[in-house]
Amino acid sequence: MNEIVRERRLLNIWILRVSITLCALLIAVGLAMFFVHGNTSMPATPSGSLREMIHTSIQGSIGFHASAFLDAAIIVLLLTPMARLLAGIYVSARVRDWLYVGIGVVVLALVVIGVVAGQSGV
């Protein structure tokens, strides 16, 4: 059991450190580009499915568009609590705690429904 607790702790710390660092770096690059290009107007606000946003963000980053890096940072931040939730489900599955695997899946489904409901413009 102690091994599982250690695994959960390491997994969580890794997720938190990587995501917050990546998010801060992507925003710093995006804002630096925004200032360097001397933009007078704000880039378009993204909307739609996460898949579309990720695709647009990757395409935009190839062209060094500020908004692509900023969109990517926002998506990374949104995925961080979901990744922690997935880590919790994984660790519960490792100890065959199926009740909490089920509860974790329900919570994850609610987060996904939030994204889907927003894109449908309810």
């Binding site: 702790r9 710390i13 917050i20 880039p43 993204p46 926002i74 949104l78 922690r84 939030g114 309810v122």
Partner: protein
């Protein structure tokens, strides 16, 4: 004001929100929404959406402090998260159909309450219930935590009332762009009798997931302008990091009361904007 200058000012506003939120424990969301609506005249759905990302950033930044300490009750967090995320989902749906004036008035009331509570004495960290309720036993919510080098066991009661408060906390979080940490801690500490430190650590884990439920809605709905959102998020990360280091060097109790007075005035302004559209 040019857009570059405006973004710089918003970035520093985000730093201030992260700093004040981390020093006072009031949460960044309570500062970001008034900053963006009263200061920069952003529509309230955009301010709330951006603030929710600020809440995720604050929760993510503070989380390593709690991970591995054994303080967070993961089972209680996951079970109560069903309620908080359901409330957040409904809150995000409802927020886009409510008049802005009502949202301003509600924000003013919640901000005023949170600022007022800063003057109240802190709870003692004593486990309460002698025995877990049948539902808490079925869900295996009782646990233990370490204090002064000793393991202390605690029991859990009031699961369904706590679940009900979490629905409300999630709803308010999505509606107003706040972490609702104070309400979550209230449910766990006062109703479910979890020790205060356990409630705080468990609440931190829950705040991020609750905010993500509604933040995803606001993002895919097209409410997050990337430059303003990015500036606020980076500012909050830097401010919360600095606050975490300054907390030992500054007279936090005095600062907390000082900021609470400022927030009471901001709450009044939000309330007036809602009631008489000032």
């Amino acid at each position: 004001m040019s857009s570059s200058l405006m973004v710089m000012v918003i970035l520093f506003g985000g730093v201030a929100a992260g700093l004040v939120g981390s020093l006072t424990g009031l949460g960044g969301g309570l500062i970001i929404v008034p900053l963006l609506t009263l200061g920069f005249h952003l529509p309230i759905p955009e301010a709330v959406g951006i603030s929710l990302f600020g809440v995720i950033a604050t929760s993510t930044g503070a989380a390593p402090r709690f991970v591995g300490t054994g303080l967070s009750n993961v089972r209680a967090a996951l079970f109560l998260q069903i309620a908080a995320s359901s409330g957040a989902l409904v809150g995000a749906l409802v927020a886009h159909h409510l008049p802005a004036r009502l949202l301003f008035a509600m924000f003013g009331i919640v901000l005023g309450y949170s600022a007022f509570m800063s003057f109240m004495p802190k709870h003692s960290d004593v486990a309460g219930a002698p025995e877990s309720s049948p539902l808490a036993r079925r869900l295996r919510l009782a646990s233990r935590y370490q204090q002064d080098g000793h393991w202390r066991r605690y029991q859990v009661v009031g699961v369904m009332p706590g679940f009900g408060i979490m629905i409300g906390a999630g709803f308010l979080s999505a509606l107003l762009g706040i972490g609702s940490g104070a309400f979550k801690v209230l449910a766990m500490d006062r109703i479910m009798k979890l020790p205060f430190r356990v409630s705080t650590a468990t609440s931190n884990f829950m705040i991020g997931i609750t905010a993500a439920t509604s933040a995803g809605f606001y993002l895919s709905h097209g409410d997050i302008p990337p430059v303003i959102g990015g500036a606020i998020i980076l500012g909050v990360i830097v401010g919360a990091y600095a606050g975490g280091h300054l907390v030992r060097a500054l007279p936090v109790a005095t600062l907390r009361k000082l900021f609470a007075v400022v927030l009471l005035l901001v709450a009044l302004q939000m309330l007036l904007k809602g009631l008489v559209n000032l």
